[in-house]
Symmetry: C2
Subunit: 322 residues, 2 copies
């Protein structure tokens, strides 16, 4: 089995060899730009890892890995337009650096190229590959639309989980499933490995919400309390709103409408998260999805020691030390 | 062979049976909205016509026909955002009726569904279908980007033809080629029928430019001279700018900078189009592409009487009476 750094290197080499040299240059320059911004390449690594688990050389699934990375970057470009985000991976977003119209169109062409790479080198079961890819892509669009809807309403915690599942978790599952198909996995194994990826992705998003408030800055890598300052609709805030008694709800809403005294707001809202039980609710949920992921992985018909790489990957994502 | 009205009816029935009932409603309502705006369904009819020519029942290629229509409507939604167009087929454009973000995302999901329908019912050679579809889709994006670039520069007539080829003509060719693949055509026949469609498409766009200035209002269906009033970069204007002597160029530029006296402008610019030879240049070009289309159709290995339906279709598009 290749290690994660080895897979990362394999993918990076392949990425650097893909040139979008066609004309008009103004359409393809943004494609090269966003692909050159780096990122962890988590999704393509999942494709390769999964293919190798089912016996395929990961170098043989580089085009399919790249397809998933292209799709991911297409969705980032369009999401950044919608969110009017100025910065992505520490650099200007595509629509800021170029312009909105180019960002729409360069995103579109990346989505088309994703299908081109998905079927490169005549893979087995092209129909299944496209079908899994479509299902995932459709759900990612649905998740983004839900996220947009949530700007103007307060979703239930359940609706929030639905949103993060669609917007981000299904693509992790989809990447593993594409790798599994490329490796010739059974339909049942492909399903279970998809569920493993999806549930790990949900747990990861929940952890991200929790650490933003309850992590320590050094370990988390960014300032603690940012979500509270921005009134971000996290699982903690949504859970607290559902659990608060009248007094707690009044206090919470009063803090939500304040933008001065950031330190006081972080401390007070954090306490409300604890007192309402939102923190332990969020941690329980995280454990539930982590558990679901473990069960799904357990159900994959494969020698347990082969699964070690996926367990390690999930632990890495979920910052667990064993 | 089915007649064009019969194919139209077949497609309309199929269209009405396709429901986008998934959630979130806000993502799918615009999809149903734009598909419900009507249009001539030229492209899906081309898919069916071509499939039938190669011996396939057109009812069996309805999903692939719908795929092409979905792609076409995806491109309309995104183009309308970029052009800030308020009206499409006499109704509000998607981004006006809903909002820009929804229009981006509903367009995206339609593009994904196009691939879903393209491979519905396990068609033969899924790889070829996706490959032709991708190539066409990539070129349509490139054509739209060229069109955007042309807003801020004056292209040569050759660059203009490259733009209309990519932006609109290749999709007519692509529709015929997809039908040909579905009908089991040889690679050579699929190529020739594609060339027939592409060149007919170019001729059609050139004719549209010519009729806007030199047609009669009744036959053309809209007011004559609209392109001149808007200083639209048509083959006539671009041809005139390339052919004008110093005096004609000065007169033309002077009219381009005037927005009062519309009647005078139309008459004067029309004369410049004639005097510079731009009109006959455009008509010659149109004939050249019509001729190329006829030759490509001639090269398809098929009994001449079977090709009659395509000749009739081209004649209809090019308003020729025989």
């Amino acid at each position: 089995m290749h290690s994660i750094p080895e897979l990362s290197q394999l993918f990076n080499h392949y990425l650097q060899e893909q040139h979008f040299n066609r004309k008009p240059i103004s359409l393809y320059e943004p494609v090269s730009y966003i692909l050159g911004l780096g990122g962890k390449h988590l999704r393509p690594q999942l494709v390769m890892m999964s293919a190798e688990l089912f016996g395929r050389n990961p170098a043989e699934v580089l085009p399919q890995s790249f397809a998933v990375e292209l799709f991911h970057n297409f969705s980032l470009i369009h999401d950044d337009i919608m969110d009017e985000a100025p910065i992505r991976r520490g650099k200007e977003t595509v629509h800021k650096k170029y312009n909105r119209n180019t960002a729409i169109l360069s995103g579109d062409v990346m989505l088309v190229y994703a299908y081109e790479y998905l079927l490169k080198n005549n893979p087995p079961s092209p129909g299944s590959l496209v079908s899994v890819f479509n299902q995932t892509a459709i759900e990612v669009c649905e998740g983004q639309q839900l996220d947009l809807e949530f700007e103007s309403l307060i979703p239930s915690a359940e609706a929030y989980i639905e949103m993060i599942t669609l917007k981000t978790a299904v693509l992790l599952g989809g990447a593993l499933r594409i790798g599994a198909i490329m490796g010739g996995a059974s339909e049942s194994d492909a399903h279970h490995i998809y569920e493993f990826g999806k549930n790990t992705g949900i747990a990861f998003q929940l952890l991200d919400d929790i650490l933003d408030t309850f992590g320590n800055a050094e370990e988390f890598g960014k300032r603690i309390g940012g979500d509270i300052i921005q009134n971000k609709k996290t699982i903690l805030l949504l859970g607290a709103l559902q659990r608060a008694n009248r007094e707690q709800a009044a206090e919470l809403h009063s803090w939500l409408s304040r933008s001065n005294d950031e330190t006081g707001k972080i401390a007070a809202v954090k306490n409300i998260f604890i007192d309402t039980g939102a923190e332990s609710y969020a941690r329980d949920l995280l454990n539930t999805y982590h558990q679901k992921a473990s069960e799904a992985l357990h159900a994959v018909q494969m020698a347990p020691e082969k699964k070690e790489v996926l367990t390690a990957f999930a632990d890495l994502m979920l910052r667990r030390t064993r």
